[in-house]
Symmetry: C2
Subunit: 206 residues, 2 copies
Amino acid sequence: MRAQTVALTSKDVVDAAIAILDEYGLGDLTMRRLATALGVQPGALYWHVANKQALLGAVADTILDGLDDDMPSGDWDLRFNELAHRLRAALLAHRDGAEVVAAAHALRTGRGSTLVLLTQVLTDAGFTEVEAELAALAVLHYVLGHTVDEQGHAQSAGLVAGAASPGATEGIADGPQTVDDPLLGETARFGFGLSVFVDGLRARLT
Amino acid sequence: MRAQTVALTSKDVVDAAIAILDEYGLGDLTMRRLATALGVQPGALYWHVANKQALLGAVADTILDGLDDDMPSGDWDLRFNELAHRLRAALLAHRDGAEVVAAAHALRTGRGSTLVLLTQVLTDAGFTEVEAELAALAVLHYVLGHTVDEQGHAQSAGLVAGAASPGATEGIADGPQTVDDPLLGETARFGFGLSVFVDGLRARLT
DNA sequence: ACCTGAACACCGTTCAAGT
DNA sequence: ACCTGAACACCGTTCAAGT
């Protein structure tokens, strides 16, 4: 087996992991499946990654990569909102992306650069370092909590039947209103909580 | 084997599951371990619960039981704060409690009564039904996001070495400040984000 | 340096058969 | 009604040995 001439890299492993995530979900992202997809024996993966947890950390980092590209320059609240919406979009762009990133953050695997970006916007706005870090962590928690819920709910419904191609959910509009989601689209629901939080922050700025 | 004379009930299964959760954590809460703890073969559990997911839903319900006992009567923001703090405390009272409840909520297993309680406080305060539900969901997401992170972090640190007895973490003060948590105690960090959100809500009340 | 082969110690779930 | 016995189709991780 294994007609390839060149050796595997850690990047190959992470990329293949994301491909499996997109097509089959986190529950089917196993080291053995991953090895099969790469045409290699399971044990071979452990030459490239320390263990599954570290791999998922690297996957989380990749999901969050380039979150601050071409950021608009404007008022802090506009930029803060933009960042939060981008974060949610990045998580939704991969199946179970929110769960992967939430776990990686809780276990302090992954780089955790998102927190730095959010904090920077708030210190620029005039918040103290401590307030900025606390507020950044709070929205991060809100976004993760919301998106894990949103994505988990979509999964438990039957909508994911026809396995989408990688990145297919990126930038699509909210799906049709369902019976147990009779209020608004998910983006609007997300935006509501976010704007309440930003309102509270604005009130604290002298 | 199995000297017991009386049969198992679903409650017995859920209670034993929580005991394992408290002592060994979610990673060690397996159907096989649970069966061994109950002095029974693995297959026997499937007479009492449909599957592991349903069991975890029932565990989540138990964790959240009695969340609104003896609620204080006072201003809405006081009661809202109380409920959010109680929710966090209930999650922290069991090892991996936040993760279990977050998963149960995302998959719509479990009863999800917490949302009703939070919504009620806000409709009483004068919010419209839609605003109240959206805001309730938003804080729930914040609390889950925060507490999953808080609990996961504690786990990844070495603090959980001496397996605590069930409920031992209930109502304890924050642990000592560690190197990567130099700002405040966790309760204060949680309270900061919560009060920002409540400030934002108050501003919306005419 | 990179991977195979093979093992170790596990999983959740099903289901005929027993009592 | 409640449980056993036994199987099915899997897991993550380790590690000597090969090339």
